[in-house]
């Protein structure tokens, strides 16, 4: 049946990613045509950057059961690598990406080793400390970094706003695809095993060291790529004033993952849109919130409280609950009309 085939096609992550990317591209085209405000798509782009960071974190928290509050510091590493490689040495984006990857892999390995000795809340505190050290180090080196638009180049082409948006979108899609593949593979299952029971995982041949290291490497790499893209997209970052490199960011990312439902990539993306997107896309346009920006933060906080209290599985659980309810009522209607056998 056609309907059946379509449904199966839609359940493949690749289809979902392509559809999502197409939708986001369409929005960008609309904004270039002047049909929707530029600031709207700009907000989408920066939210996607947060979503990348959140997805790395999702793999760490939701799949490997490891807690970290160091996300902000790792973002900073990517941002500064981008700044120094591209602005100071005038090298291309690819070089910045390579440097970012190298540094963040090294940091991820280091934190992964630490996670073999320190667990749970202690690990979270430790990564928080590490992140603060990184931030203060970066701040001491240079408080404000700024990339000139003429230096934001990809394959020799200067990236304007919509070019940077597409770079973010393509990176996001690629990373979501890789992550969803990894989750649906022996490695992803081994991580879940490790999260649920370290002893059972080990008895089944899962090396804790390998998978903890891997989880931390992936999450730091994603965070650093987030920082790198931030520099390509926003092109300015201040350590001393902005909140991007402080604990708030780490907590917001944690919030996005929990709101979304720690084990779902789309849920996490949705979480990022709720924590970052709603405020930058809608709320900041409303005069009341413009006058009282503190209310935006309060609203986000309230949302987290509500989700955690009523839907511990995150919005994913909420949405699948609605879906099940709808299906049930559809079936009932169908049965009422056609009778049980035909339904």
């Amino acid at each position: 049946m056609k309907m059946h085939k379509l449904r199966r096609l839609m359940s493949v992550p690749l289809t979902q990613i392509i559809l999502f990317a197409a939708l986001m591209t369409a929005l960008q085209l609309l904004s270039m045509a002047g049909l929707i405000p530029n600031s709207f798509t700009y907000a989408i782009g920066s939210t996607l950057i947060y979503a990348i960071v959140a997805i790395g974190f999702c793999l760490l928290l939701g799949y490997s059961g490891l807690a970290s509050l160091g996300t902000a510091g790792f973002i900073g590493v990517g941002a500064y690598a981008a700044y120094y490689v591209m602005e100071s040495f005038g090298m291309p984006y690819i070089a910045a990406l390579a440097v970012t990857l190298a540094i963040s892999v090294a940091i991820g390995v280091a934190v992964g080793f630490i996670s073999l000795r320190v667990e749970g809340l202690y690990l979270a505190i430790l990564t928080l400390g590490l992140s603060e050290i990184l931030r203060n180090l970066l701040m001491a080196v240079q408080a404000t970094i700024k990339i000139d638009i003429s230096n934001a180049r990809l394959f020799g082409v200067q990236l304007n706003d919509s070019g940077a948006y597409m770079l973010v979108l393509v990176t996001f899609s690629l990373l979501v695809w890789l992550t969803s593949n990894l989750i649906d593979s022996p490695t992803g299952r081994a991580m879940l095993a490790m999260k649920n029971s370290t002893s059972a995982a080990q008895a089944m041949g899962v090396s804790l060291m390998k998978h903890r290291l891997l989880a931390f490497v992936i999450s730091t790499v994603f965070a650093a790529i987030g920082g790198l893209l931030y520099m390509m997209y926003v092109r300015v970052m201040t350590t001393s004033v902005s909140t991007l490199l402080t604990m708030t960011t780490s907590l917001n990312i944690l919030g996005a993952v929990i709101i979304g439902g720690a084990k779902s990539l789309w849920g996490t993306t949705l979480g990022a849109f709720i924590v970052y997107g709603i405020q930058s896309m809608f709320l900041s346009k409303i005069p009341f919130f413009q006058k009282n920006p503190a209310f935006i933060t309060m609203l986000t906080g309230l949302l987290i409280v509500v989700v955690v209290m009523f839907f511990p599985g995150g919005l994913t659980q909420f949405l699948s609950g609605i879906k099940a309810k709808l299906q049930r009522s559809f079936r009932k209607v169908r049965e009422d009309i056609y009778g049980k056998d035909l339904g």
Partner: protein, 429 residues
């Protein structure tokens, strides 16, 4: 990627090397001290560098042997899946080993001829009395450290140097196993043999140390002392101490836990796929890109899992999340998991605990079937004496970590010690 991981993890041989180096360093220090105290010219030092280098060759040869063992274990696993490549892996390692041994031989010959010796160090001044006294104390401390290191090295070397061979019919040999937690001797000088293909029961009152024995065998605990040898996949005996906890499965040693450890966040089928973890050979890249190799492996593993589920009568639960399933089913899932990786020794920790009489009877049936159809040895701890006496070929009774009796069920039941310490005690209670 896999190669990077291999380098990253601290291997047993690396530990051995570190220990040997520290040992060398300490011994050199001690020799210096002795030389100083007796104020004699540093004569023995002349040969030392030569002997030193010989020792280093020994260490390297040993490491190569270890690598060969490890490669063999992995290759066998691969060979089981795809066929071939096992001999090749073994041969490369053996070639390397031969090269190192050649070098050592050449060097030893050169040393004998006196070619490799260094010039003697200049004689030292006669030390003061106070200095002699101080060095004596230092020497005592050093000697103590050396003795400790020597035992650790001996242990780290394990079967590498003097490879033990097990009798053909023995699957697992435990000798003088000790596990101390501080002052508590949870297992104390325990020895037993598990024969190939038998069902071996380990019994004893609560807290006797049964689970601890299992944890030592499966490397969850690092035993305080004693030896554990297993007849490995390649056919030769392996020292279990050479393996890390997640590697014993490579030789087919799998286990269940006393307090059921099923991964509750995934489906029953996925639980079995996790248990097949070491059966995958796809690299991380292949996994991240879902390359055809991975898809093929996934398909094969899924088929195998379905077969195991069928065997265990769990097919109806395959897509259920383990969370919330009845206890009896969870216990069966745990046993099903052990069947995913060509098991050779299945270790069951109280499989009947929490089951009712019919379930226990079914379990007995099941364990026998596994024993036959999967052709593997079974080692189990059980409190249900009916079950133990029913299915076990050999029973080993322990109490307070010490062996009480070992033999057939009749022999153990008739044993005086067992009756007073175990059966009698529980009947009176």
């Amino acid at each position: 990627m896999a190669r990077i991981w291999d380098k990253l993890r601290p291997s047993g041989s690396g530990k051995l090397l570190r220990l040997s180096q520290e040992y060398d360093r300490l011994r050199r220090e001690l020799e210096d001290l002795e030389a100083e105290a007796e104020a004699r010219p540093a004569e023995p030092q002349r040969n030392k560098t030569g002997a030193d280098r010989l020792q280093r060759y020994d260490a390297r040869a040993y490491m190569a042997k270890r690598a060969a063992n490890h490669a063999a274990a992995k290759a066998i696993f691969r060979a089981v899946r795809e066929g071939g490549s096992f001999d090749e892996a073994l041969r490369t390692q053996e070639k390397k080993l031969a090269r190192i041994e050649d070098k050592r031989r050449a060097f030893a010959a050169r040393l004998e001829r006196g070619g490799a010796e260094r010039k003697p160090a200049p004689a030292k001044q006669k030390p003061s009395a106070e200095r002699v006294k101080r060095t004596a104390a230092e020497k005592a401390a050093l000697e103590k450290k050396l003795a400790a290191l020597e035992t650790r090295i001996a242990r780290a070397k394990g079967s590498g140097h003097s490879r033990i061979s097990l009798p053909d019919d023995v699957a697992l040999r435990v000798r003088g196993l000790k596990m101390y937690f501080g002052g508590l001797k949870a297992v104390d000088d325990l020895s037993f043999d598990v024969k190939k293909g038998e069902i071996f029961g380990l019994i004893g009152p609560n807290g006797a140390g049964k689970t601890t024995v299992f944890n030592c065998i499966t490397r969850f605990y690092n035993a305080t002392g004693g030896d554990m040898h297993f007849s490995g996949r390649g056919g030769e005996a392996v020292d279990l101490r050479d393996f890390r906890v997640h590697d014993v499965i490579l030789h087919g040693i799998v286990r269940t836990f006393q307090n059921v450890e099923v991964i509750r966040e995934v489906t029953v089928l996925e639980n079995l796929l996790i248990a097949g973890h070491r059966g995958y050979g796809s690299s991380l890249v292949a996994q991240a890109l879902h390359l055809p190799v991975l898809k093929k492996e996934e398909r094969l593993m899924r088929e195998r899992a379905l077969r195991v589920l069928e065997f265990m009568g769990l097919t109806e639960y395959k897509d259920w999340y383990a969370f919330g399933l009845p206890y009896g089913v969870l216990k069966r899932i745990e046993i099903a998991r052990t069947l995913m990786c060509d098991p050779r020794l299945i270790i069951l920790d109280e499989p009947a605990a929490g089951l009712n009489d019919t379930e226990t009877a079914e379990l007995a049936q099941l364990i026998r079937r596994i024993n036959k159809e999967y052709d593997c040895t079974i080692l189990l701890v059980e409190h249900d004496m009916g079950l133990v006496m029913d299915i076990c070929d050999t029973v080993c009774a322990i109490s307070f970590g010490k062996l009480l009796a070992i033999g057939t069920t009749e022999q153990v039941q008739a044993d005086r010690n067992v009756q007073t310490a175990y059966l009698g005690a529980s009947e009176e209670a």
